[in-house]
């Protein structure tokens, strides 16, 4: 076709600009990790492993044991997963398999709205509606009427603000994430799987249970892990309903603490460089945990979506 025209300068500039913008993303992650690691180093040197296994967080005496906060984070997140996963799976199955189109659209709209509501609004509702409901009705019902107060899981006075409250509010908050990822994963299951099951005489539910769900299993696990990642890092709603008591919870009714709440409550008033460094170290633990959980989750989901396309 003739001589090769050299690329116009505008193209070179354009390519450079968008590449630079894309590179900002990994750069941010690296910078974030480096800054937190650097700021946390003094506390790690002084306290070491005590940061994660120590049970006493006593700022005045320079004891920085964040185990209660870690325990509270794990407990409330696990409870949220247990509560949210069955409901989210139901929504996903309805949205991708069972429900007629109009119900699917409405469901998708509701799920989007649930995800869009700011966390502080969930916290407000949790504090002023869920917590009193727990304190006045649910907890007395469980411990007195059902006579389960003897069980360690349900022991303790009914404060209202508790691991249970945090679990319930977190469950509502992570449900849309699990549901929407699961719906996409289920939609990525190839039609051949479904049609094969139906051709062999399966009912609709049997097809879902035996052909679709097993194929999508790792992706569904990924969706659940994404919900876990969100629950681990959730700050505002949890801080408002968990009671903020820095001890290891032994019962669902106990007030507790989470790592994010620890940061939210103490950071702006931190006294002394060591306190700040310890808080940074705790933030670093949260960062590493959520990074790993999110990365693993995204990879699992990606795997199902891309294996489906190939078949």
């Amino acid at each position: 076709m003739g001589a090769h025209r050299s690329r116009p300068i505008s193209d070179v500039v354009y390519q450079l600009c968008i590449t630079a913008c894309a590179l900002v993303i990994p750069a941010l992650l690296v910078l974030l990790s480096a800054v937190i690691a650097w700021a946390a180093w003094p506390a790690v040197q002084v306290a070491g492993a005590e940061l994660v296994v120590g049970v006493t967080w006593d700022v005045a005496n320079n004891r920085f044991g964040a185990f209660p906060a870690l325990a509270g984070t794990l407990l409330s997140s696990m409870l949220a997963l247990v509560l949210a996963t069955p409901l989210a799976m139901a929504v996903a199955i309805l949205s991708s398999e069972l429900a007629p189109q109009r119900v699917r659209t409405a469901l998708g709209f509701f799920v989007d709205l649930l995800a869009a509501i700011p966390s502080v609004v969930y916290g407000l509702w949790g504090l002023l509606v869920v917590v009193p409901a727990l304190r006045l009705y649910v907890m007395p019902f469980v411990s007195d009427t059902l006579q389960l107060g003897g069980l360690p899981m349900f022991s303790g006075p009914a404060y209202g603000t508790s691991v249970l409250a945090a679990g319930v509010v977190l469950a509502i908050m992570i449900l849309p994430y699990i549901a929407s990822v699961s719906r996409e994963v289920l939609a990525a299951v190839p039609r051949s799987q479904r049609e094969a099951a139906l051709a062999l005489g399966a009912t609709r539910w049997e097809m879902i249970r035996d052909a679709v769900l097993p194929f999508a299993r790792s992706g569904l696990v990924g969706g659940i892990m994404l919900g876990l990642g969100r629950a681990l890092g959730e700050t505002m709603a949890v801080t408002m309903v968990i009671g903020n008591r820095n001890t290891v919870p032994t019962s669902l009714f106990d007030p507790a603490y989470t790592v994010a709440s620890l940061l939210a409550n103490e950071f702006s008033e931190a006294s002394g460089a060591l306190h700040l460094s310890a808080l940074m170290a705790v933030a670093g633990v949260l960062l590493i945990t959520t990074l790993l959980v999110n990365a693993l989750a995204r990879w699992l989901v990606w795997r199902v979506q891309h294996s489906g396309a190939r078949t």
Partner: protein, 278 residues
């Protein structure tokens, strides 16, 4: 079995309905002109409002958008163009990972870089923290929207001799613009509701603040503080502030859904036409 799945689905939607009902009922009662135009009254005194918090949120959003929108747009264009190259896959993966990070960690990061050296909280640090939060959101939304532009349009422009830059500016972005704007609005709505990064950057304030080097009020921060206070007037205003937030995100969320659906129908139509000819 089907019945129980439908039942579980209804149970999943129930809290949303409960939240919306509660917020509307309790929030509407505190609405007034004063509520939107005044700064908070002292503790225990009735009256006052969240006017300064709304202005503060707008200022913070403005600063966040200056950082988040251009960088996010550029990254989104990169991801849409270089779909499966190693760098694009890595950037996309990391953008999703960044989206899932706790925002409190970003606040801590911004504190260490922007508050600690200066010695005081500032609106600027809050705006930058929110801007960083916005980048991966806008990038992914832009990528989704730009991908929906039919390939035929881009190829036609390039075949006619347009440079890449001109193709993008005149053809691709112009076609994808409604979707990109919607994605940007969704990101802004999401960022406007964030509280945790602001706890130790913008910090909050009871005054009308116009200097970005000072701490500034923000709507979600105000709701957070009022909700935990023991005063009835403040709690009522917390409900009302929450109602404002929910109305904003609902409107934008609905608009985004409608816009995305129409974009997808457009793309499907164009692609369908192409395959018939081929």
């Amino acid at each position: 079995m089907t019945v129980s799945i439908y039942g579980a689905g209804a149970l999943a939607v129930l809290p949303l309905v409960a939240i919306l009902v509660h917020i509307t009922i309790r929030g509407l009662s505190a609405f007034s002109v004063a509520f939107f135009t005044q700064s908070p009254a002292p503790a225990g005194v009735s009256g006052g409002g969240i006017g300064n918090a709304i202005v503060g949120t707008l200022i913070l959003l403005g600063m966040a958008s200056v950082i988040g929108l251009p960088v996010g747009l550029g990254a989104g264009l990169f991801l849409a163009e270089k779909r499966t190259t190693r760098l694009a896959n890595t950037a996309r993966f990391l953008a999703d990972v960044l989206n899932g990070l706790p925002s409190v960690v970003l606040g801590v990061f911004a504190w260490e870089l922007l508050v600690r050296p200066v010695g005081h909280f500032s609106a600027l640090s809050g705006g930058i923290a929110l801007g960083v939060l916005m980048i991966p959101l806008v990038a992914r939304a832009t990528e989704e929207m730009v991908r929906l532009v039919p390939v035929a349009l881009t190829e036609a422009a390039l075949a006619l001799g347009f440079s890449q830059w001109r193709t993008v500016a005149r053809v691709v972005l112009r076609t994808a613009l409604p979707g990109v704007i919607t994605g940007a609005l969704v990101a802004m709505a999401r960022v406007a509701g964030e509280t945790a990064p602001l706890l130790f950057t913008a910090f909050g304030s009871p005054y009308w603040v116009w200097d970005v080097r000072k701490p500034i009020a923000a709507l979600p921060l105000q709701v957070y503080n009022f909700a935990q206070s023991p005063y009835d007037e403040w709690r009522a205003q917390a409900w009302a502030g929450a109602l404002v937030l929910v109305v904003i995100v609902s409107v934008i969320s609905t608009a985004a859904r409608l816009a995305i659906r129409s974009r997808q129908q457009l793309a499907r139509g164009a692609a369908g036409g192409r395959s018939i000819r081929a």
